[in-house]
Amino acid sequence: MKYITLFIIILIIWFLMTFNLETPNIIVGCMAALITAIVFGRSFLQDSKKFFQPVRYFWIIVYLFVFIWECIKANFDVAYRVLSPKMPIKPGIVKVKTKLKTNIGKTFLANSITMTPGTITVDVIDDDFYVHWIYVGSKDPKIYTNKILGRFEKYLKRIFE
Amino acid sequence: MNSLIPLFVILPLGAAFIMAIMGRFIKNINKYISSVIMILLFCLSLHFIFRTEGSFVYKVGGYEAVNGIPIAIYMVLDGLSKLILLIISLVGLLAIFYSISYTKQYTAERKFYVLFSLMIAGMNGVVISGDIFNIFVFLEIAAMSSYALVAFGVEKHQLEASFKYQVLGGVASLLILLTIGLIYWNTGTLNIADISRQLTVNCSSPEGISVFMKFISILLISGFGLKAAIFPFHTWLPDAHSSAPSPISAMLSGVLIKAIGIYVILRLFFNMFPLSYEISLTITILGTISMIIGGLLALGQWDIKRMLAYSSISQVGYIVLGVGIGMMLLASGGSKTIAALSITGGLFHLVNHSVFKGLLFLNAGAVEYRTGTRNMKKLGGLSQVLPITSNTSLIGSLAISGIPPFNGFFSKLIIIIAAIQARYYALAFLAVLVSVITIAYFMKLQKYTFFNTDGSKWVKKKISEVPFSMATSMIIMAMLCFALSLLIVPDVRAVILKPAVDVLVNYADYSTKILGM
């Protein structure tokens, strides 16, 4: 299963790269995808049947807009903190617990957190994320977990689980 | 006929990789494959020496010259290359035969033969390529495998020697590459014959070659001098050659420094650059100094292989001296016959040196194989327990010190006579002096290793003669020391040495011949 998934993905990438649909190109592309699938299939993502569930792609598009919106908000927030003469920053590292179970979901969540200005994922240990935050607003775990993760988590859950 | 030329590279190169694949599955097959390949190469070079005349050009890929400008990679086989190819395959064959027993002490035995074949391929490639960049590529193949072979035993001093060798060899390669770049910048071509034509047309002024060409020549001398271990660049040689496994020492000292050092110097400075007196004087002086320094340093050594390595520096100095005198005569418009005589001496000594230095290194390896030490102070009296090694070693020592009727005597004699005829009396005197020094340190070697005390110490330890394959190749080499003195006979010389000398003496014919073909 993994192997077939990888084969199809690589074939799509191949056609995007070469952008031509002549017979030799298709044959060569199939060969290249086959070799890649054989070599790297073993270490590819575990549950690859999720690639064939179209609902997930819909949620990816939704998530993209959500992410961009959050990103713009965070950008303005950080810009305000930088420009304001009082420098209202209160940096600190917080430990947040995620409800995501799959590794790939955690990876994407961590990367999303890192890419939003103001927060950086420092480390991931099991279910705990250590996040460096430019303004630690509250000391209550519930509130800050919701603030950091809540906006992404529910969408990622639909995409990856 | 022509189409046999690339076999000199294809055979060992292909064999190396076949061995790398097969050796994993079939035990000991590498020994047989490499022996067979070396025998084939030997037959091939004999065939070219005895059955063919003149020079051949092989165009790789079959691309013909366009408007007289060569575009293919040329492989050139003329008298000089034939001679060197013969030496490579002869010494290589005997060294391979010797290592069949010798390499049993190593764990990665099969890789030894792979690297050995690669080294042979590299050296053959250097000798037959008529293209300056290909010389560089093949030289790197040969040098790279020799670096690995020097460190083959993975012991402290071997690794250290290999590192030293690699750093200096790397610097030398880069100097050579820089020179290739400068030459290409200046002439716009890489083919040696074409470069020669361009240089004679463009760069020769009435007062000799231009300053730029002198700069290039000096860089080339430093680069290939490092590979050939000529005087100021000799420091790596004693370490590398004494630390390597013995058959490899024999190959390095006997063949490698000549094939990738001396040969290329001769080829480039005779056939590519217009001859100039200053450059030939430089080469001769460097040769003379390395002859003296090598001899003097060898006197003080107590390690057998280290002494032999220093002796190599000294004997390479002889070769360079002989050829250099001829070069000076040709450049200054002196007598061509004396120049030819001198070059004959140099090339004769080159052949001889590869045989007897190979033999001596194999002897040293045999001594180390049985006794486990190379220190002369701990040896002595070995003539009782190792009669074959002792006698062949004696022959080798006599030959290298220039005692008649062995071959070393005649080549040294020719060089000295040529020096006197050319009125370089000082050089002749120095050559005689170094010959005396050579006798001194080889007598020391003989005395402390094989005689001096009685061998009861070794008899008690139950040391017996070396295995069959090692003994055979030593005996063949010792017989060659006799046989090569036959080269003094004009008829024999006309077949083997004369074509090589002709290539160097009629240095200007090379480019017209190659480009015309």
């Binding site: 990888l6 993905i9 690589i10 990438i13 191949w14 790269m17 070469t18 002549e22 030799p24 190109n25 060569v28 290249a32 995808a33 070799i35 890649t36 699938a37 070599v39 790297f40 270490s43 590819f44 993502l45 590794n103 790939i104 955690k106 990876t107 961590a110 990367n111 994922t121 480390d123 991931v124 | 189409s3 690339p6 294809i10 190169l13 292909g14 990789f17 076949i18 790398a20 694949i21 994993r24 092989y58 165009k59 790789v60 890929g61 079959g62």
Partner: protein
């Protein structure tokens, strides 16, 4: 947990096949665009090296892999030599490295005679060689620490 963190591992899993296929693309189009056997082979080896770096070194597995790579390398060079040697047989005149195949049309994928084939062989060789060198250095270093 050996190797690097979860994030690096997961991203490596996704990105390695893509790097690898990009290397193949460069090799296959070596006769049409810049690149070719060596450049593509290095990129392909990069995928392997990235994977080793991310997952940490498991010594026995690496040793096995090294042997396989060495085998691939030797066979690839042999293949190169054989293709070059085929020119001796098929080119009419006896010429080493003769381009005996049909040259085809400029700009098409199947063209330039045997150059694409040689490119593929060189690519395999370089990939195997560089990965083997890297693994050999890792293995040496690990032996030292024990």
């Amino acid at each position: 947990m050996k190797g690097m963190t979860l994030i690096v591992k997961k991203i490596t899993q996704i990105i390695c096949p893509i790097i690898f296929v990009f290397g193949i693309y460069i090799i296959i189009h070596g006769h049409l665009t810049p690149g070719g056997g060596f450049a593509g082979g290095v990129i392909m080896a990069g995928a392997f090296i990235l994977q080793i770096l991310a997952n940490g070194n498991i010594l026995p597995a690496l040793r096995k892999e090294e042997e396989g790579l060495e085998f691939l390398e030797s066979s690839a060079i042999l293949g190169f030599l054989i293709i070059a040697g085929l020119g001796l047989l098929f080119s009419g005149s006896v010429v080493f490295f003769a381009n005996f195949l049909n040259k085809g049309q400029l700009g098409k994928l199947i063209s330039a005679g045997f150059i694409p084939i040689e490119n593929i062989v060189i690519g395999a060789e370089v990939c195997a060689a560089i990965a083997a060198i890297f693994i050999a250095l890792v293995v040496y270093k690990d032996e030292e620490s024990k």
